[in-house]
Symmetry: C3
């Protein structure tokens, strides 16, 4: 497959990416999607979640600053996306941080057919029911065979699982691949994972069912964008601006 | 009239601009108003909407991520601004994207006296009841005589209508003017339209009733700021920072 | 005490800073904490406020865009932090702007043991019950002996009071110190005060009870970061990025 194959399709089709997201990253996520060539729409009211999801090419559910209302909107949007056969991405931000988050993630996974779980190691551990020392919304520390866990979780929910970190892992329940590279500064800007979830969502919406290949390309692309941005600045304020620049330019 | 006449008045008076706005652009909008020389205050609780609006020099209603609570706050703030004779700007973000947004916009237009509607072509079409292919919160595509529609809508609601895009159109229901220029990158950063709505609000608050002239100057100024920012960077991450820089410097 | 003593401890311990904050500054605040070397977690749902606060090393209550739900979350989080003996910072944004804000601030001060109030002069006046011409969320103008007022308020609530402005004032109810320096551009970027509140929170969480010294160091550090950022750019868009860069680099 040609390099940046799915990226070119995203740019050609400008998919509408519906994000129910958190107050911390909404701006960066919208700017990142625009820079990439997608069209973001943030909408989390229960009154319109179904209609927006029906019109969108993908829905991204992010529980970063969840509350009663937005959880209902996520369920409604997810079900609507399911009915309209558009991919749904779940970003279980800080899933292990509280019982409330864990219960919400498990509820979404039960009520909505998810195409992709994009998470860090700690969040995967929570979903998989493995002991883990999570810490707020950060990955935390623990011991487990991440590849195995990613594959089993992908099989269990019949979806793609993408676990990002120093080395990314992606599995569809059958295959598993690793992606190295990237830059440590990615973890020094808030929302870098959240933005990635939305970017993979854009890729999934144009990939004609090649979810595994599209996710792999998106993760590889994002790591390269991080490397290139870090060549321009190794300080986080400017690095964040360079990330957006990299997402936007010719590849 | 001297160049940047109203801008100098904004900077001399530092108007307090009350924004009920969305989670995506709140930061950029506040930073843009500060850069310009105005003083932003974001407050969307029903308990304080009237009091803030009464103290402010202008209220800006933006439905970008509306919900039940904030809609009530918008109505309360709008009515309070009306009572205190300060301008109210309506930014009907994605008005055509859902029935919920459309109904909200029409309700606001019915219950609050609006000084300015700042919108894109698709949002204008929704307000005017014209068929249009809207897409999320983007302008979308359709055929209509925008000048005529802007003028009729301005007449109908007895306000200024500013339709922004590649070419901006501004009408007070009698006159209509076009503004060309600007830069395509403006549509690659989220909230550029939302920020403009707040900036025009600041202009209206110091224009002594010359709403049409003030809106025209604000739109022209914003297009020039976009052009100048694009001379510094044609990548969106840095372009956004340069926009804020341009809003801040001497003109 | 060595220069940047507490900063080095923050970086060694990466404290988890729980912020219940506003939609305007959440992104800048999270990025600032990450740049500094702390770990932010924004969580304002009543269902999880206690659990997050219990796990965090500090809780920061910011009323910038308060509403009924988040106020309850603040009270719950504050009480939980009190039970777990971790510091609680109160940022009474725009306390004097509305009766709703004033009542909320006084309620928090009554129900939660606060370690630090970080505010501007107008907000201090509101808490102290002194007449003041506040204006939105800006400091405003008035006449009072700020040092005396800071000291009395610190004594009254048995906490540190840090009043920031052109000259910062910090008191523990016994001592009072001033900090000059900084740069006027700090007031031209939204959330610079809110971020400072969270940064002092990070310092307090690693200071082993030396709250006064830690607050003084944090305020001095922040003023220097502002000065250095302004040497790089005197325009607000780029200045904001340089602030984050400064918070991140070696000191």
């Amino acid at each position: 497959m040609k390099e940046q194959y799915f990226l070119q399709r995203v740019r050609a089709k400008t998919p509408l990416v519906h994000c129910i997201t958190n107050i911390v990253v909404a701006n960066f996520q919208a700017n990142g999607l625009l820079a990439l060539g997608a069209s973001p729409v943030m909408a989390d009211a229960v009154e319109e979640a179904a209609e927006i999801a029906a019109a969108a090419n993908c829905t991204v559910l992010n529980i970063g600053t969840l509350n009663k209302e937005t959880i209902e909107a996520m369920i409604i949007a997810g079900k609507s996306a399911n009915e309209h056969n558009v991919p749904v991405v779940l970003d279980p931000v800080g899933a292990g941080a509280t019982q409330f988050r864990k219960a919400t993630v498990l509820r979404i996974l039960e009520e909505v057919k998810i195409s992709l779980i994009r998470c860090n190691a700690g969040e995967l551990a929570t979903i998989a029911g493995v002991k883990w020392h999570a810490r707020g919304v950060d990955a935390g520390e623990g011991e487990m065979d991440l590849q195995k866990m990613a594959m089993e979780t992908a099989k269990r929910f019949n979806c793609i699982v993408a676990v990002t970190g120093v080395t990314d892992i992606v599995s569809d329940g059958i295959e598993v691949k690793e992606i190295s590279g990237g830059h440590r500064l990615m973890s020094k800007i808030t929302g870098s994972g959240c933005l990635l979830s939305a970017i993979v969502g854009a890729y999934l919406s144009v990939c004609s069912g090649e979810n595994f290949a599209a996710t792999y390309e998106a993760l590889s692309f994002y790591k390269k964008a991080g490397e290139r941005a870090a060549e321009k600045s190794e300080q986080p304020g400017h690095f964040a601006a360079y990330i957006l620049d990299e997402l936007h330019r010719e590849w």
